[in-house]
């Protein structure tokens, strides 16, 4: 067994997204002597970041005054906002909810923003290491988090060591900051270990799809922002689309489906593709080409589902803790701000996480999330009651003395035959991609095939017996990358896991109705290589 190296820092940050990088930058700004290290599983910073993304710039203004003189790539000021209710072919303009006004905001590629933040953090002395995945948490003898262990490189599919086997290092730090993003694999374990969700509502999620298109001349209007509800989802399913116009004839088109959906036969990828075929959207895209595409789970539980954000030796920032504001459809500003609050707290208290959770809840982030806490759960009762509830909550500013409960997404699926299959009025599709495999091509996802499968299914017998009968194997539909397939060969029916296709969205870990799928980190540097998503 080769020796495992140990590296020591004051703070190690897991994940180079907006929350992690904001934490790192702020820590260095407040005390340049703090040794800060950021590790990132993607092959380079930004390559596994996927967001809409319209962002509020205030945290950036605070963190990096003057950033507007040196903006990232793909950054345009928000222009005209519109909110549409779609039928299959028609569209009705809806009044714009106040949370969805975007004056003063920017349409960005969050991947490009992170890629642009990283060198600025490095200039301050932050050490950033992309291509290294935090595979395990380290604990000290007293049970405090003491750092993370980087995954080993060069392990064969069967678990044996290949010729280039290199054990991952242990990174030990006085404080560990988890900034893993939505449904972080280590955060998930830690929430259980320290019971950080005690007294909280279950966390809930959505699955978001996004494609970046280059379209023919004369169709885009730089800065234009369109959001839609209605078709192609049925009224009992939460879902909506977006179209954002960049410069140079580029548009981002995307769709989000709430993972609290009940229909076992729902096919989220198909819903996204159908959305693109709505005449309003199709006329924009037709004749264009896809530049890149991807998918990612989105955290939607809000205030009542946010776990206790601190634990002995560590804390959480951003979406792994669930700081996204659903009615605004924005999480970047709250993620960055949570990172800055964490850094300020740590710098002021000798790197002790104790007390950070209370500070975060009392901050602008907490206030913002509290105010809108009842809007998303209101949609459990369908679109219309959800909209009415949202209007009431908006008018009262969240002051009604109630907090609606959420329920876990894995538990919401109904059984085949018990759910009245809605009539799905779909188009014959002709825009690319034809299927999920073509879509994965544009995600440029890459995993060495000769490594252990990073999607652990605890009991594959269920797949061929109970799950097939009860839910008709929903994993074969909710996965945006066609990772899960039921195949029939000489050995009979079995689950085949095409782990190399995985785009690290985490939907399977969330939605599988038996809670038997666990997403773990593959070899560092594996996964999608998004360009400007």
């Amino acid at each position: 067994m080769a020796e495992r190296d140990v590296m020591e820092y004051d703070a190690v940050i897991v994940g180079a997204g907006p929350a992690g990088l904001a934490t790192a930058i702020r820590l260095k700004q407040l005390n340049s002597d703090t040794e800060v290290c950021v590790i990132e599983k993607a092959s380079e910073v930004g390559a596994q970041i996927l967001a809409g993304a319209v962002i509020e710039p205030e945290p950036l203004d605070e963190l990096l005054p003057g950033w507007r003189d040196n903006p990232p790539n793909m950054c345009v000021p928000a222009g005209k906002d519109e909110f549409l209710f779609l039928g299959k072919s028609g569209a009705t303009r809806m009044p714009l909810p106040p949370q969805m006004h975007n004056r003063g905001n920017f349409i960005v590629s969050l991947g490009a923003v992170c890629k642009w933040l990283a060198p600025q953090a490095e200039e301050l002395g932050v050490e950033i290491y992309p291509g290294f995945a935090a595979a395990d948490t380290l604990f000290d003898d007293d049970g405090n988090v003491a750092g993370v262990r980087i995954g080993d490189m060069g392990v064969a599919r069967d678990g044996s060591e290949k010729s280039g086997y290199t054990p991952g290092v242990d990174i030990r730090a006085k404080v560990t900051v988890f900034a893993e993003g939505c449904r972080g694999s280590l955060t998930k374990q830690l929430i259980r270990r320290y019971e950080l969700d005690e007294g909280k509502s279950p966390q809930t999620y959505g699955i978001g799809f996004k494609e970046l298109w280059q379209v023919p001349d004369g169709r885009t209007e730089t800065g234009r922002i369109t959001h839609t509800i209605g078709w192609p989802v049925d009224r009992r399913t939460y879902g909506g689309g977006f179209v954002y116009h960049y410069d140079d004839n580029r548009v981002a088109v995307g769709y989000v489906v709430g993972l609290d959906y009940e229909d076992p036969n729902l096919f989220p990828f198909e819903l996204f593709q159908q959305f693109k075929h709505h005449p309003q959207i199709k006329r924009l895209l037709e004749g264009g080409k896809i530049l890149s595409s991807g998918a990612r789970a989105i955290v939607e539980g809000g205030w009542q589902a946010m776990p206790t954000m601190e634990m002995p030796g560590a804390l959480m920032v951003g979406d792994c803790g669930g700081t996204l504001n659903v009615p605004k459809i924005k999480g970047t500003h709250t993620a960055m701000r949570s990172g800055m609050i964490a850094a300020e707290h740590l710098a002021g208290d000798e790197l002790s996480p104790r007390g950070y959770d209370a500070k975060l809840r009392a901050s602008a982030v907490g206030r913002e999330l509290y105010q809108v806490r009842n809007i998303r759960p209101g949609f459990h009762k369908g679109l219309w009651r959800g909209l009415i509830n949202a209007a009431v909550e908006t008018v009262t500013g969240g002051r009604l003395p109630r907090t609606l409960e959420t329920r876990a997404d894995w538990s919401s699926l109904q059984k085949v035959g018990e759910y009245p299959a809605p009539e799905r009025d779909f188009y014959q599709r002709d825009l690319p991609p034809k299927d999920r495999l073509q879509s994965v091509y544009f995600a440029a996802t890459e995993h060495d095939e000769d490594q252990p499968v990073h999607l652990k299914v605890a009991d594959t017998d269920i797949c061929v017996s109970r799950c097939r009968e009860e839910y008709n194997n929903p994993c074969t539909r909710f996965c945006p990358a066609n990772v899960y397939e039921m195949v029939e060969d000489e050995q009979g029916l079995r689950l085949q896991i095409n782990a190399a296709n995985c785009v690290h969205c985490k939907t399977c870990d969330i939605k599988d109705p038996y809670e038997i799928i666990t997403w773990v980190t593959p070899e560092g540097g594996s996964g999608p290589n998004y360009q400007n998503l």
């Binding site: 190296d5 590296m7 092959s43 380079e44 390559a47 790539n73 793909m74 590629s109 490009a112 890629k115 050490e127 290491y129 291509g131 290294f132 980087i150 490189m153 060069g154 010729s163 280039g164 290199t166 991952g168 290092v169 990174i171 280059q214 530049l291 890149s292 091509y441 544009f442 440029a444 890459e446 290589n529 360009q531 400007n532």
Partner: protein, 248 residues
């Protein structure tokens, strides 16, 4: 004996290449760049030769923009001892690169110059050969095995008919093929240490090399889109379809 390893900054092999709308080249804005994979094999081979005690210093060199430092840092993290960046903001043609490398070889006097057999961006595959010619030393190209004994190197080359083994006097240029070795994983602590190793900065002009521009890119085009297949019901239909398309 020193080894000089030449590396090139190229668009990463995982990137889905996009041609610029005006066909003047490929999009590199916001695109991941990394070391040419064949050059990575060259660095690995130098490391193995050093570990075998055949050479005692590895110098990584590149010619390119300021950011090409990143690729030199990778070579340093893998285990190269020091590095030289020859800076230029212009697109580098093989002849310019060869002139620069021959000039550097003249100065550094390595026993062996290693580089990939070609770069995955322009696929020219000329630099190694021209470097040897300008440096007036032997060359062993497309190496799949390298053995150094005293003043000469026995190199197995991948050729059309199979494998060919040749012996060249050192100093010589060796270009590396895919099957020569499998580059190692870079370790995190080594990346940190590499930040402290020296990179000497110079420019094409400072070296007194004249940039060559014999090649002109007239147009860059993506490969034609693949047409979807078609299912036929019978052999007769297949034959008539093929006839219609003028294929038989």
């Amino acid at each position: 004996m020193k080894a000089m390893v030449c590396v090139k900054r190229v668009v990463d092999y995982n990137v889905r290449i996009q041609v610029k709308p005006d066909e003047s080249g490929v999009v590199t804005e916001g695109v991941k760049m990394s070391m040419n994979p064949f050059d990575e094999i060259a660095v690995e081979e130098a490391l193995r030769l050093k570990e075998a005690g055949k050479i005692d210093e590895i110098i990584a060199v590149t010619i390119g923009p300021q950011q090409a430092q990143e690729q030199l840092r990778t070579a340093l993290a893998m285990g190269a001892d020091r590095a030289i960046l020859v800076q230029t903001d212009e697109a580098v043609q093989p002849l310019t690169a060869a002139r620069v490398f021959a000039e550097l070889a003249g100065k550094e006097e390595p026993g062996v110059v290693l580089m990939g057999k070609q770069a995955i961006d322009d696929d020219q595959g000329q630099t190694g050969q021209m470097t040897a010619a300008l440096w007036q030393r032997p060359q062993a190209t497309f190496a799949s095995k390298v053995e150094i004994e005293g003043e000469s190197a026995k190199v197995t080359r991948e050729i059309d008919a199979g494998l060919e083994t040749i012996e060249v006097d050192l100093p010589a240029v060796i270009t590396t093929d895919l099957r020569l070795n499998e580059p190692r994983y870079v370790k995190l602590p080594d990346i940190m240490k590499a930040k402290k190793k020296t990179i000497d900065n110079t420019t094409v002009e400072e070296l007194g090399v004249e940039a060559a521009k014999p090649l002109k890119v007239t147009r860059t085009a993506p490969p034609p889109a693949r047409q979807g297949g078609k299912k036929v019901e019978s052999v007769q239909e297949l034959v008539s379809e093929l006839k219609n398309k003028g294929l038989i």
